[in-house]
């Protein structure tokens, strides 16, 4: 019994111009078990079990579970096993190695301690700023590059490969580059702005701008990915849309702003999810940049604070509490996207 509303949804969502027949009988099929029981009573146990399970969860449940259930359990054991372990430990007061964590009095003391810790608040704010600003900035740069490349230029492949190259480098390499580039005296950054007459800036020393300097470095590394996703998105839009906008007298800028970019919503969302994963990896970059768990002042994020608490101070419980908050923060940013997709029957 096939997924009728998914097909229905697709026909409605697909440009309804040419498809003159729009089904009115929409709605969600839940494979209710209203149909009467199968005729042959004497089927053996497994078949009957399978049929009842199929009816309960939908016709292909048993047959499809062989595909997704084992990987789901493996992931559950590793990913959610760790989440639960962290959650449990964060409710205890476990420190150092001496005694095992006692689960007798589980309390939220660690979380109240975090809220009272100004270092925690700064790190949380920095993490949020980093996640949002990094994703938005990378998408913007990627979009501009994609638009430029999409104008049918020669050497397109080589440009595209060059923009993608940074993604293949490890943070050990990129962190060292950026230490040189941000060097106060002879760094490329200060030389560049020097030519425009602006005085040298202490990119990593100044607390207020170090976070944005780090974000810029991460944008350099991952905007290639955003460019590739947007290039694909642009190429998926039929050329008639470009021509129609031009015929309507829209300037290039307006055309992209009013006609093209709104259609890139799908590409934007899928790129944003992956870029957030890279944003979460900023720990490795900061670790290589400062050669330790303490990034330059003003760029401390939850991940580095968590590792400092857990491994430098051996406050396992406090470290796990920060980990749970970090996981929760990432979900709170991605959660709305998931619910939105679910409500649009897209999930």
């Amino acid at each position: 019994m096939l997924d009728f509303y998914r097909r229905l949804h697709r026909t409605i969502r697909s440009s309804s111009g040419d498809d003159d027949e729009v089904r009115a009988d929409g709605g969600v099929v839940s494979d209710g078990s209203a149909a009467d029981p199968p005729a042959e009573p004497d089927r053996d146990l497994t078949a009957r079990l399978k049929a009842s399970l199929d009816r309960r969860f939908g016709s292909d449940f048993m047959e499809s579970s062989v595909f997704w259930l084992p990987p789901f359990l493996l992931m559950g054991l590793f990913v959610y096993g760790a989440v639960i372990w962290n959650l449990l430990i964060s409710l205890t007061d476990y420190q150092r190695f001496e005694n095992a964590p006692d689960y007798s009095n589980l309390d939220f003391e660690m979380y109240t301690r975090a809220l009272a810790d100004s270092g925690f608040i700064d790190a949380a704010v920095n993490t949020l700023v980093l996640l949002i600003a990094f994703t938005a900035g990378t998408l913007a740069v990627g979009l501009v590059l994609a638009i430029l490349i999409d104008r049918g230029i020669r050497f397109e492949n080589s440009f595209r490969t060059i923009y993608l190259l940074p993604m293949s480098l490890s943070f050990v390499v990129t962190a060292q580059f950026w230490l040189w580039i941000y060097n106060y005296n002879n760094g490329i950054a200060n030389n560049l702005i020097g030519t425009f007459g602006l005085g040298p800036v202490s990119w990593l020393g100044n607390q207020d701008i170090v976070l944005y300097a780090v974000i810029f470095a991460l944008m350099w590394q991952f905007s290639g990915y955003a460019m590739v996703v947007y290039l694909a998105g642009l190429r998926a839009i039929p050329t008639e849309h470009y021509e129609a906008a031009q015929v309507d007298g829209a300037s290039a800028l307006k055309m992209y702003w009013r006609v093209i970019i709104p259609q890139l919503k799908g590409a934007t969302i899928s790129a944003a999810v992956v870029l957030m994963v890279f944003g979460m990896k900023a720990f490795d970059f900061l670790y290589s940049l400062s050669g330790g768990y303490r990034p330059p002042n003003g760029a401390d994020i939850l991940a580095t604070k968590m590792v400092r608490e857990a491994y430098a101070n051996l406050n396992w419980a406090y470290g796990s509490a920060i980990a749970i908050v970090l996981f929760g923060m990432a979900l709170s940013v991605i959660g709305p996207y998931l619910v939105y997709e679910y409500r649009r029957d897209n999930l």
Binding site: M1, A24, V29, D31, A39
Partner: protein, 381 residues
């Protein structure tokens, strides 16, 4: 070859909290080898019905049986049916031969050479033998459509199901494929259920046609019966191009009084009406004749628009000249091409009493249909 029995089939969807009835208590029985066309406007439930027969949709209520075997819970692959989809649904990475042999490889354990022989034969029959080793993307729309057909035929199923297979073709190719499909179906004699929204296909191809609207079965009959003896107002308006004229009339004594004319009727028609008084009078444009003298059944009209169609003209006539054209009630008539009529002429239009249909205005149900003996056999499409 098999008989197909739909017994009060119903399909409901759960959209959020309210429930939508897509197919409401449809009962159909299709004989062995019959070519039934299911037709209706968009969203009338015809595709849902077809998908329920195919097993691609669960059946909310009612029983579906093939050759008297209840198949509600039988998986689609075990119903021995083949389906041609609107988008052909060919496998892009497989050659035409592989596309056609996929069905046999999956559902039967025939040896490969046997399968190749059958595919070759079907290719011969459909004239696509030279294409067997090409990829679907290299073929034209028509060729792809034939391959989709071939894929269904080669499986030699009990039942053919076709979901608007011609709608993606251009007009000329569509006409060719219509006749070829009919010829094929007659040769193979496979029970076929064919869904379309195009009434021309319905009228020309089906042994019988089932007309659906709003999920409810309006009428199941031969094309001629549906055309000439529509069971209700919807069927009457749906078939025929240009569609039937309708005038609201009320029965007073032995005359039908409309707002622009009065129409005397004889006792025979009178007896069919029973006690219904609020009626709708229907007359096919091709049944209207232009005559010289006014009378009981002839009315003075002015010509608003003439649409020459080559072999015949479609004329839009108004009853009362002083009212502006758009809200005057019009009578559409089709007359043969040589009849010289031009705009603003006043002509006498005759509505022959044996060609009128009368429907109950509230239920739309047909109370009186035209008599069949001198009805011209041509169907004006």
């Amino acid at each position: 070859m098999a008989t197909l029995e739909l017994d009060s089939i119903t399909k409901t969807f759960q959209d959020g909290d309210e429930e939508i009835v897509a197919v409401d208590d449809v009962s159909l029985s299709i004989d062995d080898g019959e070519f039934l066309v299911v037709v209706g406007p968009s969203g009338c439930g015809k595709s849902t019905t077809l998908r329920m027969v195919a097993g691609l949709e669960t059946i909310t209520a009612g029983t579906l049986s093939i050759d008297d075997r209840v198949v509600n819970h039988v998986k689609s692959q075990n119903r021995d049916i083949a389906m041609v989809f609107q988008s052909y649904a060919l496998y892009p990475h497989m050659s035409v031969r592989q596309n056609m042999s996929f069905g046999l490889e999956e559902s039967t354990d025939l040896p490969d050479d046997e399968i190749n022989r059958m595919v070759g034969e079907t290719g011969e029959m459909l004239g696509i033998s030279p294409l067997l080793d090409r990829k679907p993307s290299d073929l034209s729309g028509g060729q792809q459509q034939r391959v989709a057909l071939g894929r269904a035929i080669v499986r030699d199923p009990e039942v053919f199901l076709m979901d608007e297979p011609l709608s993606n073709l251009d007009a000329k190719l569509r006409a060719e494929m219509r006749t070829e499909l009919q010829r094929l179906q007659n040769d193979l004699g496979v029970t076929t259920v064919y869904v379309t929204h195009d009434q021309t296909e319905a009228m020309t191809m089906g042994d019988r046609i089932a007309i659906l609207d709003g999920g409810e079965l309006q009428q199941v009959a031969t094309p001629l019966e549906c055309y000439h003896e529509p069971s209700n107002r919807f069927v009457a308006s749906f078939l025929g191009e240009p569609s039937m004229n309708f005038f609201d009339v009320t029965l007073e004594g032995d005359r039908l009084v409309g707002d622009v004319f009065e129409y005397p009727i004889d006792e025979g028609i009178r007896s069919d009406l029973g006690d219904a008084t609020d009626l709708v009078l229907g007359i096919r444009p091709e049944a209207v004749q232009l005559v010289d003298a006014a009378g009981d059944h002839e009315f003075e009209t002015t010509v608003d628009v003439v649409e020459p169609m080559g072999d015949e003209n479609t004329v839009y006539l108004h009853f009362d000249p002083d009212v502006e054209p758009e809200n005057a009630s019009t009578l559409v008539a089709t007359i043969d091409g040589f009849n010289r009529v031009s705009e603003d002429d006043t002509v006498i239009a005759r509505i022959p009493p044996d060609a009128i249909h009368l429907f109950d205005r509230s239920t739309g149900e047909a109370l009186h249909n035209r008599s069949m003996e001198n009805a011209a056999d041509q169907i004006d499409l």
